[in-house]
Each structure stands twice: as structure tokens, then as C-alpha cells.
């Protein structure tokens, strides 16, 4: 079946970014950590913190991929004004690798999220939809225009206006 994009309502309202004074948000300020190394010096000790790792392992065991966790971490850093989006994306592989290291050190099972497996024998939805459309076309099953029900025209009663500038009808009224 073809994917029909559904409307997403989990988005900011148009103009919401203009509801605060420019520069009031943390991400509109210069970042606290400007380089990859500075940002890693902020993240890696936190990752190694036993209290944090305990919660991290709980999340890992639920099956959430490391890529998703790392993305959430760096997005939060951007929102707090710790670093820019660029630095956040750059450090993501290091965060993922560090989390994988910590998990393997503690024998925790995790999903890395870097290998999306595709079954070569299973055709994609769009290919199936195209094949069905082709078969229908060959078999002549396409709905024809003459088969389509035509709605009957209904007479719309004309309102008689009595204004000075109103158009005169054919009767001259």
C-alpha cells in the first residue's frame, strides 16, 4: 500500500519562534562548547557516571537504539545552548560508540540502530502498488468516466435583490 502522508500536529504553531525576544533562548546565544573536543569533555564524564549509566542501561534494555538515545542527548544539548547543532551531529558517533562500549563492558544487550535490514525477496509497498496499477490497466479495470455517477444539476433559486446597484433580471424587474 502506498504511504499517504498524514498530517502531523506535533509541531510548533506558525510564528511560535517569534513569541520570545531574539536572543532570549539558550540556542540563540553563543554555544558554551564550541569544538568537538570541548563537547566530548562535557558528555563523556556524564556517560561514565554510575547513576547515569544505570538509567542508560535500563533504556538500552527496552530496545531503544543507541542512535536514537544519542540523538536525544545531543538535541537536549543544543536546546540548553551547550553546543551547536553541527557539533552535536559531529559528536553523535562518539556518543554511540561510547555507549556501546559501556554496554558491552557490563554485558548489556543493546540495539545499535546502524544496520537497517531489508529483505531482498520482499518487494516494497510502492512497487506492489505500481504492479497492482499495471495489472488493473492491462485488465481494463480502470474506472471509466461514463461509469462514474454524475450528480444531477439542481436549480438554484435566484434571490431577488432590491438594491439600487443590483443587476436587473431578464424580466426587467
Amino acid at each position: 500500500m502506498v504511504d499517504i502522508p498524514s498530517p502531523s500536529f506535533d509541531r510548533p504553531i506558525a510564528g511560535q519562534s517569534l513569541t520570545a525576544e531574539l536572543g532570549n533562548r539558550p540556542w540563540q546565544q553563543p554555544p558554551q562548547y564550541a569544538t568537538v573536543e570541548e563537547a566530548l569533555d562535557y558528555y563523556v564524564p556524564r556517560l561514565a557516571n554510575p547513576e547515569f549509566t544505570e538509567n542508560l542501561f535500563d533504556v538500552m534494555e527496552t530496545g531503544i537504539p543507541l542512535t536514537t538515545i544519542a540523538n536525544a542527548m545531543q538535541s537536549a544539548g543544543v536546546m540548553e545552548g551547550k553546543h551547536t547543532i553541527d557539533v552535536g551531529l559531529l559528536i553523535m558517533p562518539v556518543l554511540i560508540e561510547t555507549m556501546a562500549y559501556l554496554a558491552e563492558e557490563s554485558d548489556i544487550e543493546y540495539v545499535e540502530g546502524s544496520n537497517i535490514t531489508t529483505d531482498p525477496d520482499k518487494p516494497s509497498d510502492s512497487r506492489i502498488a505500481r504492479a497492482i496499477a499495471m495489472v488493473r490497466k492491462e485488465q481494463g479495470e480502470e474506472p471509466k468516466m461514463e461509469d462514474m455517477p454524475v450528480p444531477e444539476e439542481q436549480e438554484v433559486p435566484q434571490e431577488v435583490t432590491g438594491g439600487l446597484m443590483s443587476r436587473r433580471s431578464a424580466d426587467g424587474v
Binding site: 573536543e37 542512535t67 554511540i96 562500549y101 558491552e104 540502530g113 546502524s114
Partner: protein, 68 residues
């Protein structure tokens, strides 16, 4: 699904372990260039190359854990 982490990991450039190191003899002449320290040479790289090196180092340590 659009997964940023997946894209980032797939586009990561890891350093080639088999790359041959330069085996040039340091020159003793007065105007010769000083050999760069390892730390300095890492900082001269592009950020994504530096990240690739960091990832390779951690991965190496992780593989060491796996292999005992």
C-alpha cells in the same frame, strides 16, 4: 524512517589502519621543519576526521573487550 543517527554512522569516515606511515628521515639542517607531535597533527585534521579517529579508538577498545 529518517534516522539521523543511522545517517551519521553511515557517513562516518574511519581512518585507514593500513595506510602507510611516512618513513622519511628527519633532516638535521637548520631550516628543516620540526616533526609535528601526534596531538598537534590530530588537531590539524578536519573535525569529522578527528571524530573518525576517536570512534576508531573506542571501537578498538570495544573489540578488545569482546576478544577478552
Amino acid at each position: 524512517m529518517y534516522n539521523i543517527g543511522f545517517q551519521v554512522l553511515n557517513n562516518l569516515v574511519l581512518p585507514d589502519d593500513n595506510a602507510s606511515e611516512e618513513m622519511t628521515q628527519p633532516s638535521n639542517s637548520l631550516l628543516s621543519r620540526k616533526p609535528k607531535s601526534k596531538e598537534q597533527s590530530i588537531m590539524d585534521l578536519e573535525p569529522r576526521e578527528r571524530v573518525g579517529r576517536y570512534v576508531a579508538d573506542i571501537r578498538k577498545a570495544r573489540m578488545g573487550l569482546k576478544n577478552g
